[in-house]
Symmetry: C2
Subunit: 338 residues, 2 copies
Amino acid sequence: MKIVIDGMGGDNAPMAPVEGACMAVKEYGIDIVITGEKDQLKAELSKYDCDKTKIEIVHTSQVITNDEKPVVAIRRKTDSSMVVALNMVKNKEADAMVSAGSTGALLSGGVFVIKRIKGISRPCICTAIPTMDGGVSLLSDTGANVDCDAQQLLDFAAMTNIYAKRVMNMEKPRVALANIGTEEGKGNDLVKTAFDLLKDRDDMNFIGNMETREILNGVCDVVVCDGFIGNIIVKTLEGTVLSLFKKIKESIMSSTKSKVGALLMKDSLRGLKDSLDYSSHGGAPFLGVEGGLIKAHGSSDARAIKNAIRQAIQFVDGNVVEEIRAYISSDQEKAENK
Amino acid sequence: MKIVIDGMGGDNAPMAPVEGACMAVKEYGIDIVITGEKDQLKAELSKYDCDKTKIEIVHTSQVITNDEKPVVAIRRKTDSSMVVALNMVKNKEADAMVSAGSTGALLSGGVFVIKRIKGISRPCICTAIPTMDGGVSLLSDTGANVDCDAQQLLDFAAMTNIYAKRVMNMEKPRVALANIGTEEGKGNDLVKTAFDLLKDRDDMNFIGNMETREILNGVCDVVVCDGFIGNIIVKTLEGTVLSLFKKIKESIMSSTKSKVGALLMKDSLRGLKDSLDYSSHGGAPFLGVEGGLIKAHGSSDARAIKNAIRQAIQFVDGNVVEEIRAYISSDQEKAENK
């Protein structure tokens, strides 16, 4: 298996991508291609000890930054570390790709370079939300598509269900719709229509509506919503956790008594904050394109990159793309037989 | 001034409404009508000491519960404590109303009994979110309208802006759109169109888009969104806070050391949890109907009811309904002069 890493993407590039690649070679024994400025990549690579015959450097002269307009950047910067990596996936020179670079550019690249799986009108981004029971809930879409129809929500559900089974090893993922009430008939027009599409599926374990009040309680494995709602959920969650811990810190500092108390509680509290940090729970797969595409968090360190590479491996081993194609053809057959 | 209280609405009725009414008479010197089963209300009233000449009991024989279909309940239960109170506002026998009963029924009652202000196609519910700096951000709509157009979002903004100034005494409320990015041009079609309507208003201090990551940081005074998004935000927030405190408690109980620590921190932590409980931050006004209508939380105690009565008083004193009418006519004039 061969995974291509965008060597210049992310806040800690090229250090983290190169070190992460070395860790992955050691741990998983796979082949890796790193795209980027060759002198920088070589200098980084020389710092680490691993089987260097399994790492290939492909020189690129450009870098796409977070400030650039995604579509423009992908179209113009054809010799960027990101576009060259995307082309390797497209041309089957690599099985999957990992990048910590611009999310927007990567999404555009997925659609315009790698291309959509035939029958999927909108690929989605899936974010793993760490839950209170130590597991994760997979939330799709979290920002790729801000205006959706119900068929697209059904596709997000089906693709994320496949990802949950094939990559996250969940046996019979519980699929729920993000909604403002649990009863059937709740919600806006989009969600009500999506409910009707989901409730009769025999290829998914649809458990109905879920109120976002429950999002951290691990009540389901896959949460389906459009990208606007998904992004609102993720950011409200993140903001609340950050604000709360900041306030707890302030409360602690307000008296000597509570300072002493906090000192005794430090380990418990720190573990909790880390366990809720969704950015540390692996990369976000981009589902619905003709290849594995894992977006690692922009601030990924080497370990996070290594974990994203592991996800890419599981994505390939799990035949996620083939499974999504099978979902599409099965639905098309059913439609034709009607 | 006369405020009517739904004496049978809420988990703690009729105790909390009656006690809250007595507290309000003492503290604000206003006249109060309580609707409900007269024997129960009289028995409750006899427990408290206040100027009883200022409290009138209007007997009603029915109660609307949370399980009933709102529209059906409002239409059929014409002798319920809620509908009789709504009719008193409609007939100007009371200046405003407070109820801790079913939100859905109260919304239906607002529209079908009290009626909308002419020119407002959709009234909204406004929820006060306590922020980390000790203030509040007013979020509208939080559930009355799950499918909205941009003009309706503009109306929510205008009405909440008026409420912020006239009831919350905010001088120049900062109005923002709930969005998934701060730059102009971000978001779905609805939000982008609403942005265009809001940006040229000279009657509002529109500060642009706000990411919901910032919701607790007090970066704005009024947050505008449709009722589906608003409800998702409020419930994600509430769920995160509850889950987090539950987890903190568990972390604490996991070791003797942290138990001792927690004991020392108890007061700081409890104060923090209370300060984030949006249900304790007064009632939610229902904006856009021909009268003051304050929804107190279902679990309101007497103090919460008294606070909701104070809001109702400020609503009347602030001429909120007249101000909303003025906003509508000013916009109609501008449209005609174009």
